[in-house]
Every structure is written in C-alpha cells, then in structure tokens.
Amino acid sequence: MNILTIPLRNLRRKLARSLLTAVVFAVGVASVTALVELSKAVGESLESKLAAYGANILVSPKTETLSVGYGGMALGDVSVDIKYFKEDETLAAIAGIHHKDRLSAVAPKFVLLARVADTPVGVIGVDFEQERQIKSHWFTEAGTLSLDSFGLLAGSEAAARLGLAPGAVVPLEGRDFTVTGVLGPTGSEDDKLLFADLHALQAAAGKINRIHFVEVAALCAGCPIEEITAQIASSLPGADVKAMQQVVKSRMMTVDFVKHLAFAVSGVILLTACVMIGLSIFSSVNERKNEIGLLRALGFSKGSVFLLMHLEALLLGATAAVIGQAAGFAASGRLMALLDLGEQAAPTFDPLQFALVFVGVAALTSLASLPPALAASRIEPSQALVML
C-alpha cells in the first residue's frame, strides 16, 4: 500500500467508467498510430504508384524545338533536328547523379518518323523494361504486352488506322518488324504511336547509340525535384532538363494531402480524447469532494491531493497508450492490406516510437488532468467535510 493504492482502487471501483474512458482514449491513440503508420506507408507507396503513371523529368538535347504534326498527330516537343544524345554517355551521366536512389525509372527514347501503308506514323524506340516503369497502365487489346527485337507494339488508334493486328509485318527502314501486341486506349499520345525495341530501331535506322530524349521518373518525397533536375543538368551540359511541374505538383499535392489529412484527423482525435480524460477527472473530483476534504484533514498536503488525481489520470493514460498503440498497429496492418498498398507497406514496430508515443500520451494526460487536479488540491477541507 502506498500513494498508488487510492487511485488504483478508485479506478477499479469505477471499473466500467475507467474502462470506457481508457477505451475511448485508446481508440484515439490507436487511430493516431494507425494514421501515422498509414501515412508513412502511403507517402512512399502512393508516390511510387503515382510515378508509374508517367515521368516527371524530361531530358532532351538543347535545341530549338519544332512541333511536328503528322496526320493530326502531335509529336510534342520532339526535335526532328539532327540533334541526338549519345545513349551510353547520357544514361551513365543520369545514373551517376547524387540523388540516383530517388530515380525510379530512366526511359530513353529514339524517335523515327515513318510511313506505313502511305500513312505517316511515329515510331518510338524504347527500353521496354524502363518504359513499363512509367507506363504501368499499358495493357493489350490483342497479342502480348512484350517487346523483343523486331517486335512492335501498336497504339490503339495507330493500329486501327493502319489495320494492324498481332502477327502483322511492318517494314521500317528496310527491316521487317512484327506486331506482337495492340495496346488498349490510354487517352494519351501513346495511342497514335508505334513502339519498337530501342536498339533494334536504332540499328534499322543506322543510328546506333543515338537517342532523342529521356524521360525520368523521380521520387520527390525526400528531396525537391529542382535538386534532381539541377543534378542531371550539371552532369549533362548539353541537355535541356525540364521538370514537368504540373506532374510533380499534383503528385506531391496528393501525397501531402494524405499526410496532412492524417495529421489533422489525429490532432482532432487526440484533442477529443484529452478533453474526455480531463472531464472524467473533473467529475471524479466533484464526486469525491468529501473524500478529498477528509484526506486533507488527515494531513495530506495540497501537493499530495494534486498528485493523487494526477496519478489517476496517468494510470488511465498509460493503459490507453499501451492498448491504443497495439490496436493501432493491428488496425494499420489490416488497413494497408485492405487498401492494397503492396508488400513494402507494412507497419513497422519501433521501440523508440513506442516510447515516444507513451511519453507523449502521458504528457497529454498530465496536461488534461492539470485543471481538475488543481481544482482538487484547492478544495477547502473544512468546507468539503461540513457540507453534506
């Protein structure tokens, strides 16, 4: 028996109420834990998912750009000028930047303007594996989604206009390419283009080791996109490196929104939980005015009474912190599975974080119980005992 006896016994006596308060607070801690875990995982996973829907940096040779249209088909800012990059040097330069870890895909492109069945069409030579990293939305309507040398993937509109189907043979620069698949509609320029293997197309065109531009997908959660573009630009003096701000901004906005939302909701929940604890202790103080008066009459100091009330809140808060964190981890695991965030998204138990949350929750409960504990210590014993 010591100073903990009174708070513990009192909590046990009001077991239902203590449990309810602890559970509500635990739910608060749990949702905060779950939200923080989720937003950590979502931040990473969401960004890499978003990166799969397009590149955010465009590396092209410094040149006067010429917008070229063929048959109503825009080829963007691709220059038909005889301005090339050397493939090996360029890719090596990009792969050598300081933030190379943040690059999720580097997709070089070789552009060929060709005529198929008297219709002008753009053929893009791509590194299929890298291309898939930024074009994860690609799917085929017919044939297979693969690209071996002398294979050809046809955009949906291009295939329709040229009457291409899997197995069709398309002569390009004197070499025969065979259509392996027809892409489903993407709603982008891809629909109007043909895609061939980068090296096969370079060889056919007699332009080995030449590329026209590179699309880069960078993850910008850890560093600003400006830094990455600056690093690429400095290692490629002849290149024009543009961040596709619109892509970057909307992507970061999505990620930030998720994070901010998580923190805002957490804050509101914790605030509510604190008010609950405070009110619970307040009502406890009001119900126990007599008891407090008696303790003072028995020689308990104001400080002791304050500590008693405070300890009661702390015991509640500590219980809630432990239960809440355990529940929060469990819930975030389930949620991540439900939201299909992928394998890399799993809640990670971090003892330091646990300790920090524990201390944080203890501090919050302390703060919340401060007013009622102060009120308790100010109770005038003679008055509390006489008035019945």
Partner: protein, 234 residues
C-alpha cells in the same frame, strides 16, 4: 497544550458578513476532555476546525505548545494533522473502496513508500481497540453506522496523535451505538489522549471533564478547572 486567543472568524457568506466567532478564548490542557455545546449555528464546528488547524481565523491566535499555527507554513500544518492532531466527524468519511483495515491506514497513503509492517500491526491494534479486529477485511458498506464510526476512530488513532477533535461523532447514531462511541472516547482520554468533543447531547457532554458552551460566536460558559498555568499565561 492548545491555546486560542480572541478568535474571530467571519465567513464571506450569503447573509451579509455575520461573524461565526466573535472573540473566543479557550485553553485546552494536555489530557483534558473538553465538551463544546451550543445551539445549531453557534460556531462550535468553526471553533473546532480552527483549533485543529483546518481553518485559519481572521483575527486572534492559536498556539500549540506555544507555537502560533498562523506562523506555520501550510505544509507544517498539514504535517501537524498527520502526526499530532486527529479528527473524527459526524459522518465517518471512510473511503468506500478500501477495507476497514485499509481505511485505518489511509493517513499513510500519501507517500510512495509502502506502509511498513509495524504500522500495519498497529492499525490492527487500533481496530482491536475499537472492537473491530474481526471485521478488518470488510468494506465500509458492509458495516453498521456504529462500526463505521469506530473504524473512523481507529483511523484517528493510527497516527498516535496527542489530541483528538471530534465533531458530533454520535450525531448520526442511535442512543446505544452513540454511547459505545462515547465510552471509547472516554477510555482513550483516560489513557492520556486530549479530546475536544462537539456534541448536542447533554448526557454525553457531562461525560467530559469540562463543559464549554458557545452562544452566538461567543464563549457563554466554561466550567473547566483552569488549565495548568503555563498555557494560560502564554
């Protein structure tokens, strides 16, 4: 032992500022049994609370062994109530979630240090003293009114006080149960404990060696043999 001089106490109450005490002087010698009587609202409880350091007077002094209570820090007065003074009230004020035995030990529950074996043994002795050793493990709700009040007396004894202040301890008990409480107080006084008792019951008041009457915040009668010289002259 305890000397009150010209005590004035006014409560900032509803009906103007009618003083509850208007200049009461009283000396209580060690080992005395003082009964304080008077009509309801005359100021008995107020006087008792001032003597026991629970309330501070607006004017006048209370000296305990020559030390002015008002000159002590709040902490020192708390300490005084934890060691030298004890109180029993009309309501037993037992903590409903502690057993009789644990209730007796409440004065020691303000410290992180666990209550030691010697104190536990003495708590049982105190319960025995009031005839409740066999009900030590009962919760207050499972005790009769008289038994509850006896537990409260045991709790008042566990700190080995010098003075016991009792404010109508028999007030909510029937005749024979009240009588039991009075017998205990009387026995304790014979063993050397100073007792100051507030009571409405003339029969009980007569059991005390000294009778003090308060009327309208003033001392109306005091049949006491004058207290030993030193405390009067302070």
């Amino acid at each position: 032992m305890l000397v009150a001089k010209d005590i004035v106490k006014t409560f900032a109450g509803e009906a103007g500022n009618a003083p509850a005490l208007r200049g009461v002087s009283l000396a209580v010698a060690a080992g005395e049994f003082v009964a304080v009587t008077g009509r309801s609202g005359s100021g008995k409880s107020t006087l008792l609370n001032i003597l026991s350091s629970l309330l501070t007077p607006d004017a006048g002094q209370v000296l305990y062994d020559g030390r002015d209570l008002a000159a002590m820090s709040a902490r020192e007065r708390d300490k005084l109530r934890a060691t030298d003074f004890s109180m029993v009230f009309q309501m037993h004020h037992l903590l409903p979630y502690l057993t009789a035995f644990e209730n007796v030990l409440t004065p020691f529950l303000s410290s992180w240090r666990p209550v030691d074996a010697a104190r536990k043994a003495f708590a049982l002795e105190c319960l025995e003293r009031v005839g409740l050793a066999d009900k030590a493990e009962r919760l207050p709700g499972k005790l009769s009114g008289g038994e509850q009040q006896r537990v409260a007396i045991a709790r008042a004894l566990v700190t080995r006080p010098r003075a016991l202040f009792a404010d109508e301890p028999t007030g909510s008990l029937d005749g024979s149960t009240g009588r039991q409480i009075m017998d205990i107080l009387s026995d304790l006084n014979k063993e050397g404990l100073t007792v100051v008792l507030v009571t409405h019951e003339p029969l009980y008041a007569r059991m005390a060696g000294r009778l003090v009457e308060i009327a309208d915040g003033r001392l109306a009668a005091d049949n006491g043999t004058p207290a030993p010289a030193p405390s009067r002259t302070v």
